[in-house]
C-alpha cells in the first residue's frame, strides 16, 4: 500500500495536520505568526547544510531551526531591539546564508521548487516514519505542557505567580515549533509551512467559543485541507503545498460566511 506515492503523501499530510492543528492555535493566540516565518526561513539553511554534510533533511532543519529559536530567545533578553526587528534580522540572515551555501553546491542537483513549495513525489517510507514518530512525540510533549503553556498564553505573570514555570514551557514550545517545521518541510514546502499552521487555526477561531473546541476544529480543518489539497494536486498537477493552503483558504472563507449568518441571527 505504501508503494503508491499518493497514499504516502496522504498519510504524511494527515500526520502533519494532526500536529499543526493544536500548535497553530498557540501560534495565533500568542501572536507568533511572524516567528513561524522566521523559523521556516531558517529551514532553508538547515536544508542546505543537510545536502552539504549528507544528513537527513528533517534532522538538520530541526537542529538549525531550534538553534535560531533559542538564539532569538537569548537576543530578546540581551538587546533592546523590538521583537519584530530581531525576527526579521534572524529570518533574512539565515535565508541569505542558506542561499549563499546553495551557491557552493553547484555540483548537486537541487530541486529548489520542491523545497519551497512541497513535492508529494518526494515522500518516502523514512519520511513517513519521521512524520508519524516525530508528530506523536510533539503531541505527547504538548499534552504534557498544555496547562502551563495555556496559562502563560493567557497571562504570563499570573502563570509565573502561581508556579507554572512559563519561561521553561515557552522554550519547550519553541523547540516543538522547530520540530513541526522540520517534519513538514517536504510535503508543504518551507514558504508555506506557517500557512499550514495558521490557516486551519484561524478558520477554527471563527466557529468556536472555547479553547478545546478551537483545537479540535483546527485539526479537522487541517485534515480537510490536506485531503482536498492533495487530491486536487494529483488531479490538476499543481505543487502540493500551495494546493493544501488554497484548500485551507476556501475553508476559511466558508467559516466567514458562517460567522456572518450567526451575527445576523443574534441581532
Amino acid at each position: 500500500m505504501f508503494d503508491d506515492f499518493f497514499i504516502r503523501a496522504l498519510i504524511a499530510g494527515i500526520g502533519i495536520a494532526l500536529v499543526t492543528g493544536p500548535l497553530g492555535c498557540f501560534i495565533i493566540w500568542r501572536r507568533l505568526s511572524f516567528f513561524g516565518d522566521t523559523l521556516s526561513h531558517s529551514a532553508l539553511l538547515g536544508v542546505t547544510i543537510a545536502f552539504f554534510f549528507e544528513l537527513n533533511i528533517a534532522f538538520s532543519v530541526f537542529l538549525i531551526s531550534s538553534a535560531i529559536a533559542l538564539i532569538l530567545l537569548k537576543l530578546q533578553k540581551t538587546t533592546k531591539l523590538p521583537g519584530d526587528a530581531l525576527l526579521g534580522l534572524l529570518a533574512h540572515s539565515s535565508l541569505a546564508v542558506g542561499l549563499v551555501v546553495i551557491g557552493f553546491l553547484t555540483t548537486i542537483r537541487f530541486d529548489i521548487m520542491g523545497l519551497l513549495f512541497g513535492d508529494i513525489l518526494a515522500v518516502n517510507e523514512i519520511d513517513l516514519l519521521i512524520i508519524w514518530i516525530g508528530g506523536a512525540l510533539i503531541l505527547l510533549i504538548l499534552k504534557y505542557i498544555w496547562k502551563p503553556l495555556f496559562a502563560s498564553t493567557v497571562n504570563h505573570e499570573l502563570a509565573e505567580a502561581e508556579g507554572m514555570n512559563p519561561d521553561k514551557v515557552n522554550a519547550i514550545f519553541t523547540v516543538l515549533l522547530a520540530a513541526i517545521i522540520a517534519i513538514s518541510i517536504k510535503i508543504v514546502g518551507l514558504l508555506l509551512i506557517t500557512g499550514m499552521l495558521i490557516m486551519p487555526a484561524a478558520m477554527a477561531r471563527n466557529i468556536s467559543n472555547n479553547p478545546t473546541q478551537m483545537v479540535k476544529l483546527s485539526i479537522i480543518g487541517g485534515l480537510l485541507s490536506v485531503i482536498i489539497g492533495l487530491f486536487s494536486s494529483l488531479e490538476i498537477n499543481t505543487p502540493s503545498g500551495p494546493s493544501i493552503i488554497t484548500a485551507a483558504l476556501v475553508l476559511f472563507c466558508l467559516t466567514l460566511i458562517k460567522i456572518k449568518n450567526y451575527s445576523e441571527l443574534k441581532k
Binding site: 495565533i28 493566540w29 501572536r31 496547562k147 495555556f150 496559562a151 498564553t153 493567557v154 497571562n155 505573570e157 499570573l158 502563570a159 509565573e160 505567580a161 502561581e162 508556579g163 507554572m164 477561531r205 468556536s208 467559543n209 472555547n210 479553547p211 478545546t212 473546541q213 478551537m214
Partner: protein, 250 residues
C-alpha cells in the same frame, strides 16, 4: 490557634529592583503571616505593584531576598487583557492554573456573585464582572497566600463593599494570608492588620493607627488622609438615639 496564626507565609527582605536606569523600589521589607491582611498603600508610581510582583517571583534580577513558605498562591493582577483570538469562557479561565470540580467552580463564582456568567466568554464581560471572576479564580482552591492588586477596580459601589467584606471573610475562614494593594484608604484603615506605606521605599509601616498618625504618611497623602482614621475612631465617641440623632459623649 495562635501558633497557626503566627506562621509566616512570605518574607520579603530588603528587596529592590533597578530597571531602565532607576530604582523602581529599594530597601522594601515586609512579611505576611497566616490569617493576616497586609496592605500596601502609596501614590501612583510608588512601587506597590512592583513590590507585589517581586514577592510573587515575577520580577527576576532583584536585589535582596524573598523567602516563600507556600506554593498555594492565588493572584489577582492589576490588569489582564484577553485577546479576541483566544476564545475562553469563564469556566476555562477558572481552571487556568488549577484543577477544580464543577462544584468548586460554582461555589467560588457564587461567592463573588457571578455564577450566572460561568459559560460566558471572558471578552464579553464588563470591567466589574471580570474583576469578580478574577477574585473567584484566585480564591477557588483555598490558597495559603492571596495577592490582590487593586481587586475591586471598576466594581460598583455596593459590590465594592461586599467584595471587601468577602476578602475579610476569606482571610478569617480559610485562614490564609493576604497581601492587598488598595487605593481605598477607608478600607485599608478599617479592616486590615498591617499597613506598609510605600514611596519607592518603605515610608512608614505598622498598624493602621500608627501609620495614620505618622508624619510621613500625612505628608504623602495630605491632611485629609489622616482624618480617615478618625471616621472609624469616632464611632466610639458617640451613641445614637432611637430616632438616629447623635448623642455625643462629653
Amino acid at each position: 490557634m495562635n501558633k497557626i496564626n503566627s506562621e509566616t507565609l512570605i518574607k520579603v527582605d530588603n528587596v529592590g529592583l533597578f530597571k531602565n536606569d532607576k530604582w523602581l523600589v529599594k530597601g522594601v521589607s515586609l512579611e505576611v503571616k497566616r490569617g493576616e491582611i497586609v496592605t500596601l498603600i502609596g501614590p501612583n508610581g510608588s512601587g506597590k505593584t512592583t513590590t507585589a510582583k517581586i514577592a510573587l517571583g515575577i520580577h527576576k534580577n532583584i536585589e535582596g531576598k524573598v523567602l516563600t513558605f507556600t506554593d498555594k498562591v492565588g493572584y489577582v493582577p492589576q490588569k489582564i487583557s484577553v485577546d479576541w483570538t483566544l476564545p475562553i469562557r469563564v469556566v476555562d479561565f477558572m481552571l487556568l492554573t488549577q484543577n477544580l470540580s464543577d462544584e468548586e467552580i460554582i461555589n467560588a463564582l457564587k461567592l463573588t456573585g457571578v455564577e450566572h456568567l460561568k459559560n460566558n466568554n471572558l471578552s464579553n464581560l464588563s470591567g466589574g464582572e471580570f474583576q469578580r471572576v478574577l477574585i473567584a479564580r484566585a480564591i477557588a482552591k483555598n490558597p495559603d497566600l492571596l495577592v490582590l492588586d487593586e481587586p475591586v477596580q471598576g466594581v460598583d459601589f455596593k459590590g465594592e463593599i461586599s467584595l471587601y467584606e468577602l476578602i475579610k471573610e476569606i482571610s478569617d475562614k480559610v485562614n490564609c494570608g493576604i497581601l492587598l494593594i488598595s487605593h481605598d484608604l477607608h478600607v485599608v484603615m478599617s479592616s486590615t492588620d498591617y499597613v506598609v506605606c510605600l514611596n519607592g521605599h518603605v515610608c512608614c509601616s505598622g498598624t493602621p493607627q500608627s501609620v495614620a498618625n505618622n508624619n510621613k504618611y500625612q505628608e504623602l497623602f495630605g491632611d485629609r488622609a489622616s482624618t480617615i482614621l478618625s471616621v472609624y475612631e469616632h464611632k466610639h465617641d458617640h451613641t445614637h438615639s432611637a430616632d438616629g440623632t447623635i448623642k455625643r459623649k462629653q
